[in-house]
Amino acid sequence: MSFTLTTLIALAAMALVTFATRAAGLLLATYIPSHGRSRAALDALPAAVLIAVIAPAATAGPAEILASALTILAACRLPLLGVVAVGIVSATVLRRFLI
């Protein structure tokens, strides 16, 4: 047996909801005026979302906070792949030594 109907329905529902949240942004954007305060809000949106996504994980414990600090330092100097390498290595090492 490769797949069942209820599974297919669940996958379709998840797919529909996911697409709806992504497409809703396209429609929402046509209602946001592109000047004044809403312009300032939209301009700030990418950085605000990026930071909100990672803030809890970046501050989960002492190891993560230190690893984040090292990664931020790396981000000032290195290309993205180097930043990722510093992040992975420092998180791995620090988690071994800090609780």
Partner: protein
């Protein structure tokens, strides 16, 4: 537009290169998601189908964790909605970058708008206009990579142990930190970033589920709108 169109091949290659760190980092997670889905009784075909249709990593991890047989589709759809609410915000911002996309391509673009694709596209816009070739180069590479690794995980089973033991989970934090650096505009960004981070950390501590992204982002965006200095572009 008076500028010459950049070559499609070069733009697509630039998109693939931009998404490469995320594509590498996602491999162990794809394998793990597939393996956990297999443990929950999903067939490799179903797992591959889920990645093809949904293409949203965090939603898929949550769904597999909540998975029951037979599947409780309404509960799964609601969990997906909550965890994907952030995409409304991301889509609203991305919409302004899609000037070179026709209507069909705009919807195809949002179908592929996983967090990493969105972040890489927003980062690209800081330097040059977003082209469909760049976006779909990045999007299709990550999409194919996700489809292959999740299905392979389902076929191979639990080959990989806990990725957190190796710091792989931190790869995503690092990618986003690296991308935020590109958006940095001095004190302006610091004010917004502090509001977002505090809002997200508080919401994460106090509320269940994935509300923290939307709440944290709302704090940052509201700060930008309310504080005149924070809203000014540097």
């Amino acid at each position: 537009m008076t500028t010459a169109e950049p070559s499609i091949r070069r733009e697509a290659a630039a998109g693939m290169l931009a998404i490469a760190p995320a594509a590498l980092a996602v491999i162990p997670f794809g394998l793990i998601l597939g393996a956990s889905a297999a443990e929950k009784g999903l067939s490799p075909l179903e797992t591959g189908l889920m990645s093809t249709m949904v293409f949203a990593g965090s939603a898929q991890f949550l769904a597999v964790e909540l998975w029951t047989t037979p599947a409780a589709w309404a509960a799964l759809a609601f969990a997906t909605l909550l965890i994907n609410l952030r995409h409304v915000l991301m889509g609203a911002s991305l919409a302004r970058r899609l000037g070179r996309f026709g209507k069909a391509r705009r919807y195809l673009a949002v179908f592929l708008m996983a967090d990493e694709i969105w972040a890489v596209a927003e980062h690209r816009v800081l330097r040059q206009p977003l082209t469909p070739a760049f976006y779909f180069g990045a999007g299709l590479l990550l999409y194919a990579n996700w489809l292959v690794t999740t299905t392979a995980g389902a076929l191979l089973g639990g080959l990989i142990e806990d990725p957190a033991a190796w710091g792989f989970d931190f790869a995503f934090t690092a990618i986003f930190i690296g991308l935020v650096a590109g958006f940095w505009r001095g004190r302006t960004t610091l004010v917004v970033a502090t509001a977002s981070a505090l809002g997200a950390i508080l919401a994460h501590a106090l509320l269940p589920g994935a509300w923290y992204v939307v709440i944290g982002a709302a704090c940052g965006v509201a700060t930008a709108a309310l504080v005149p200095a924070a809203g000014k572009r540097a």
